[in-house]
């Protein structure tokens, strides 16, 4: 199966490990990720102001491209997923944002939110299937792994519809499929401190340490995430309490497709 793929700025630079391992694993699981043409940075945060139109156009362009090329858009970075999915919801709603974005963009036909935005984890669950991943695993991981969801995949849940926002299970199911033991801990859906580090270095420090010590307390040996900013905060500001990796790095290890 071929899917349009939106990598985003960070996956081409500091988070290449996320991009590269994801591509290899998808290939091993029979999914071809086709990077969309001329994609632009999504802006990393969804602008909530109701008059914000130009800041959403890069997401709209990517979505409209995917509509004409298979109808699905695969995302991997949590931030890109959040921005693109929420913008798609605006386009579906057909209000002021949708009208203005279409007026400006002049697509051959107006974009009305037809594309299905699919996060890589949703692709693993719904396109490949965790049972098929289990069958493809060559090196079961046999260790205790804490899933770190953070905010962007889950909230606002009415729009993201990713999983139960208070008690998610998809990453735990993923961990089981690669032979690991998931560790459920209270801070797995708490914010890591996000972008506030540029204004106030202490806040991400407090938040990230809480996340990692909560995971450690419940017995996790490592923590996995889908977000480059979470990874950075947990690694740089988390006090070195536990190792933190991208979930695709563990998938690559389990499937035996590491470099």
């Amino acid at each position: 199966m071929k899917l349009c793929y939106y990598p985003g700025c960070t996956l081409k630079t500091k988070a290449q490990a996320l991009d590269k391992t994801a591509r290899k694993c998808a290939a091993a699981l029979g999914v071809e990720m086709e990077e969309i043409e001329n994609w632009q940075c999504c802006g990393a945060v969804y602008p909530m102001g109701t008059d914000e139109i130009a800041t959403k156009l890069s997401a709209v362009r990517a979505l409209e491209y995917a509509k004409r090329n298979g109808g699905k858009l695969l995302t991997l970075c949590s931030a890109c997923h959040n921005v693109i999915k929420r913008t798609n919801e605006d386009m579906k709603a057909g209000g002021d944002i949708a009208i203005r974005a279409n007026n400006y963009s002049k697509f051959d036909e107006p974009y009305k939110g037809e594309t299905e935005v699919l996060h890589y984890l949703e692709m693993l669950k719904n396109v490949v299937g965790f049972d098929n991943i289990r069958k493809a695993v060559k090196n079961p991981l046999n260790r205790k792994i804490g899933a770190y969801y953070g905010c962007l995949l889950l909230r606002p849940s009415g729009v993201m519809a990713f999983d139960n926002p208070e008690n998610p299970t998809i990453i735990e199911d993923f961990i089981r499929s690669i032979g690991g033991t998931p560790v459920v801990y209270p801070f797995r859906n708490e914010c890591c401190g996000a972008y506030v580090g540029l204004k106030n270095k202490e806040l991400p420090k407090k938040k990230s340490e809480k996340v990692l010590s909560s995971a450690k307390e419940k017995g996790a040996e490592e923590v996995i995430t889908a977000c480059p900013l979470c990874l950075y905060n947990l690694q740089a500001n988390g006090g070195g309490i536990l190792p933190v990796r991208y979930f695709t790095e563990l998938l690559a290890e389990a499937l035996g497709v590491e470099e």
Binding site: T10, A44, P47, R155, V196, K199, P228
Partner: protein
């Protein structure tokens, strides 16, 4: 823009109806940045409902909100406190000279590992 127009504009920007708030405080109870804030999430909602424009525009808490949407998630009345915080912050940073970060302050605090995502996010939130 008159004072009333400014308040109306913040309300429109936020896209949320602050009058629906029933003051249960769950938004602030769930906020991971609560301790850092001089005005708490539930107060943003209540100050806007009361038209306390100056208090909103002068607060420091707009720089601490993580946009994590936990307050939005927990509100039993469908109010979005984070959207009010963002509307106030947008209003402030759109004023001349009120950007939250200065480009020249960034290089000394950027380390080898900082992802583009952090810089792009912070610029989108704090600057116009």
């Amino acid at each position: 823009m008159t004072r009333e127009e400014r308040l109306e504009n913040i309300s429109t920007l936020s896209g949320t109806d602050v009058k629906k708030c029933m003051k249960c405080g769950k938004c602030s109870g769930r906020c991971p940045a609560f301790k850092e804030m001089d005005i708490k999430p539930h107060q943003f909602v209540s100050l806007l409902a009361q038209g306390k424009l100056e208090k909103l525009l002068e607060c420091e808490a707009i720089w601490s909100c993580l946009s994590c949407m936990a307050c939005v998630e927990r509100c039993p009345r469908g109010v979005a406190p984070a959207a009010v915080v963002e509307a106030v912050r947008d209003t402030v940073v759109r004023m001349q000279g009120k950007n939250g970060i200065k480009a020249e302050d960034i290089p000394p605090i950027v380390d080898e590992l900082i992802p583009q995502q952090l810089l792009v996010s912070a610029y989108r939130k704090y600057n116009k």
